[in-house]
């Protein structure tokens, strides 16, 4: 059978049959995703039901929006939302620009051995678990033999119990996040920087531009696209706020300011066994995250002329 151009001689069915082995290649992952990603999406209907263990998710009776109303009118609602957005906001404000700054500084280094050494070191924290990072923090900031408190002691200052005090929670979250992610985050900015043609700088210098002007008019516009894409991801993940990290740094003393949507879902669901209620909170988060990604993607398309789809 020939189509209009005469160059396709096979029907769709034939082409599918020809590629049958490739569908076999795809099969394991498709099944895995159907079971472990798509089925839980269906399972999220639990948010609108009253869970009955014997009947399962499918057979449990519907209760409409009850759980959503309970959640949005509960006293925890605003505090959890506020904490989530505060932590994410602080991270976007401080942890987002950090790798850009590091990349700019590394880009100015002319000794390539020194540059490489610093880069290699900076990747290490990215590869260790948050459990390890929090263990390191515990030792470094320990009131018993920790180096920070030892230095304080040398200046006759009283010991501070950093990980247990509420006021140090946000600073610790931001600083540990920068410490863990800044080196890894700088990789893509460095690659974007290496793509900028050196001739641009040479002609700018001939025109009398200094370093600051070069950075402002050549370097930053050169990595604008990359910053845009990374910004979409950062804002799209606004409601995540760094689940692992927060969960590990949570202490009774900082619970009022450290409880975020994910940790709250986990606690109500797995610790207190309120499955339907926790599912509703999770679904609330998923829906808003999805919306955020769509919105930021559209904004990025408008302002940076880039998008992730």
């Amino acid at each position: 059978m020939k189509n209009r151009h005469g160059n396709r001689t096979k029907t769709l069915g034939q082409r599918i049959w020809e590629h049958r082995i490739l569908y076999v290649f795809l099969l394991p992952c498709v099944v895995s995703l159907l079971v472990f990603s798509y089925y839980p999406m269906y399972g999220a209907t639990l948010a609108f039901k009253k869970y009955n263990y014997a009947l399962g998710i499918m057979g449990s009776p519907w209760v409409g929006l009850t759980h959503f109303i309970t959640f949005t009118t509960s006293p925890e609602f605003w505090s959890v939302i506020r904490n989530t957005i505060t932590i994410s906001g602080l991270k976007i404000l401080m942890c987002f620009p950090a790798p850009i700054l590091l990349a700019l500084l590394l880009n100015e280094v002319w000794n390539s051995k020194f540059k490489r050494a610093i880069q290699t070191m900076s990747y290490l924290p990215n590869f260790v678990s948050w459990v390890v990072v929090v263990s390191l923090l515990t030792v470094v900031f320990s009131p018993y033999g920790g180096i920070v408190n030892n230095i304080r002691k040398a200046f006759d200052l009283p010991s501070v119990f950093y990980l247990g005090e509420r006021d140090y929670f946000y600073p610790l979250v931001v600083l540990s996040d920068i410490w863990k992610g800044v080196g890894w985050g700088s990789i893509i900015y460095l690659s974007a920087l290496s793509g900028i043609s050196p001739e641009l700088y040479e002609s700018a210098v001939l025109d009398g531009a200094g370093r600051i002007k070069c950075i402002w008019y050549i370097t930053l516009p050169g990595i604008k696209m990359t910053i845009g894409i990374m910004f979409i991801y950062a804002v799209g993940g606004l409601l995540n706020a760094g689940f692992d990290q927060i969960l590990l740094l949570q202490q009774p003393a900082n619970m009022l300011i450290s409880e975020i949507l994910d940790t709250y879902t986990l606690k109500t669901g797995l610790n207190y066994g309120k499955f339907e209620y926790a599912t509703a909170i999770g679904l609330f988060k998923s829906a808003f995250s999805f919306l955020l990604i769509v919105i930021t993607n559209n904004m990025a398309k408008r302002f940076f002329e880039v998008g992730i789809w």
Binding site: I16, H19, I21, L22, Y23, F25, L26, S32, L33, Y39, P40, M41, Y42, G43, A44, I57, L105, L106, E108, V109, W110, I118, S122, Y123, L124, V128, S129, W130, V131, V134, S135, L137, T138, V139, V140, G145, G146, N150, F161, W179, W184, I188, V205, G210, T226, I229, Q251, P252, A253, T265, L266, L270, F275, A278, T279, L283, S289, F290, I293, I308
Partner: protein, 294 residues
């Protein structure tokens, strides 16, 4: 381009000092805990040990390896990491290859099917109920089966496969080679950099995952090392340490729970420290490809 004015030279000096300081701050916590792990525990809590052990000992490591819980957890971590890397690489290669064949009907549909799971999910609780209903919460397979696939890894491998000229595949097909042979005998040998990168990413992901064990695993005997470390950290968390610390000092034991933990932290960190610098040139490239095409 080099600037040679005085201000530029001052900037160079400042930059070098700043970046050196940054490198120091990045590495020092690891070094500090390494020192702590080789120091007598009760001596370390007195303070003043920073750059070198004051009272050297191997006791912390001996105790760590003799602790049956730690030993078993390391076994779980090693098994899941090896198995996870192997399965992850094979399954990722299969789908990346399939989708990189441009004549495959429905390839965009499959890509979207994979992509959608990264922007929307059912949440933790339905996922947990599913794992429980499948009996995975009581099994070692909890760590391996649900996580054979990751969209990011798929994207990296697909992008790499797309750089391999399609003519190579087509000519092999003319010679009578099927897709299985093309993938394993032509693509795989050409893909060493991306395979190394993904092996590192998947391996590190498995080695570091504490969450799955802590919240989805009901058998404590099946905790991986990272989960066990988190549990130990909780037991000796700052709030409980406040009361506990004095008694530890009073009994004048040489060994403290903290020093055992430090040895454990180092046991978890060392494999990573040893492996990651060697694969640097590969994964740096991998991240760039992912960022550009992602």
């Amino acid at each position: 381009m080099k600037f040679t004015t005085r201000a530029q030279k001052i900037f160079q000096v400042f930059n070098t000092v700043f970046l050196s300081l940054f490198g120091f701050i990045t590495l020092f916590p690891f070094w500090y805990v390494l020192v702590a792990s080789f120091n007598v525990g009760s001596d370390f809590t007195r303070g003043g040990v920073y750059f070198w052990p004051r009272m050297f000992t191997l006791e912390n490591y001996e105790r760590a390896f003799r602790d049956p819980r730690i030993f078993a957890s390391l076994g779980v971590s090693v098994s899941r990491t090896l198995l996870g890397v192997l399965l992850g690489l094979v399954f990722t290669a299969l789908i990346a290859y399939a989708v990189s064949v441009e004549t495959l009907p429905g390839r965009m549909g499959f890509t979207f099917f994979f992509y959608f799971t990264t922007i929307f999910g059912g949440g933790m609780i339905p996922y947990y109920i599913l794992l429980r209903d499948l009996g995975l919460t009581k099994s070692f397979w909890l760590y391996v089966i649900p996580s054979v696939y990751s969209f990011f890894n798929f994207l990296l491998m697909r992008t790499y496969f797309q750089t391999i000229p399609a003519e190579l595949r087509e000519s092999a097909e003319i010679d009578g080679a099927g897709h299985v042979r093309v993938l394993f005998q032509i693509y795989a040998p050409l893909s060493a950099p991306i395979i190394a990168t993904l092996a590192l990413f998947i391996g590190v992901g498995h080695w570091n995952d504490w969450f799955t064990g802590a919240y989805y695993q009901s058998r404590t005997a099946l905790f991986p090392a990272a989960t066990l470390l988190q549990k130990l950290l909780r037991e000796s968390s700052p709030s409980s340490m406040r009361e506990g610390q004095e008694t530890v000092l009073e009994t004048m034991r040489t060994f403290t729970p903290q020093s055992l933990q430090m040895a454990f932290v180092m046991i978890l960190t060392m494999p990573i420290v040893i492996v990651y610098p060697f694969l640097q040139k590969y994964y740096v490239k991998g991240v760039m490809i992912g960022a550009v095409k992602g």
